[in-house]
């Protein structure tokens, strides 16, 4: 069941790229009630899309991902819960090197690198059944 108040909102989304429109609306609603600026909203949408699409692409086993947004003073926390037997810790993913030429760059890794740049903290936990990711963005 979706839950919400002005500082906390949570909803499950079908694992499909088509869900992105609903996810952006979900973020938009929270952003208005929490008076986030355009730059903050852009970063949050970007980070959510990257984590969500990774879950769609690499863990297609279950059908839904639960996403939550939680404002705690100056901290905005974005949570993801995904049923996943094999852990994939995004914090361990090797960073891309932005100074490399096109010829030397390998595909992939752009999204996770940018999550780390656009958000202030990335936490990953796995309990044997679920992967839980919490992204933190400091907001004024």
């Amino acid at each position: 069941m979706p839950s919400s108040d002005s500082n906390h909102i949570e909803k499950s989304f079908a694992k499909d790229f088509l869900s992105l429109k609903a996810i952006f609306e979900f973020v938009g609603k929270f952003s208005v009630s929490n008076k986030l600026n355009d730059s903050q909203v852009f970063s949050i949408k970007f980070a959510i899309e990257e984590v969500f699409t990774n879950m769609v692409k690499y863990n297609p086993g279950n059908t839904h991902v639960t996403i939550s947004l939680n404002r705690e003073g100056k901290k905005l926390k974005v949570g993801f819960v995904d049923a996943e037997e094999k852990p994939f810790d995004i914090t361990k993913k090797e960073d891309v090197n932005p100074s490399l030429s096109i010829e030397k760059r390998r595909p992939g890794g752009l999204g996770i690198f940018l999550i780390k740049k656009l958000m202030d903290d990335v936490e990953y936990a796995h309990d044997g059944k679920y992967s839980r990711i919490i992204l933190t963005k400091l907001v004024e």
Binding site: F17, L20, F24, F42, E49, V96, L100, P107, F113, L114
Partner: protein, 119 residues
Amino acid sequence: MSDFKIHHREGEGVNVLELKGYLDAHTAPDLENAFQQLLNEKRYRIVVNFKDLSYISSAGLGVFMAYIEDVRKNKGDIKLTNMTPKVYNVFDLLGFPILYEIYKDEKEAIGKFKDGKKQ
């Protein structure tokens, strides 16, 4: 909200793609198709105008990476223009300004093709 549109026009031998809306994992294939169609028609002088692009994700950024080498091998280029600060920021974080020519406005980018720097 996450609608995405591409408007293609051509003038003076340069193909301009105007992007509008949200370029995300769901809509990135539309941009891939647009680039692929230009390459199929051997049109390698390409300017992408970002004026009305509200949002881009790594899926969208990856499309530019996927086509730039093929375009340059054919003596063309993909030049980028009119980015908003939010969109420019993600290009900048990835070091894309050293990989792509990025201009403030479309006329300037078209002018660079006319200067004959890259045909």
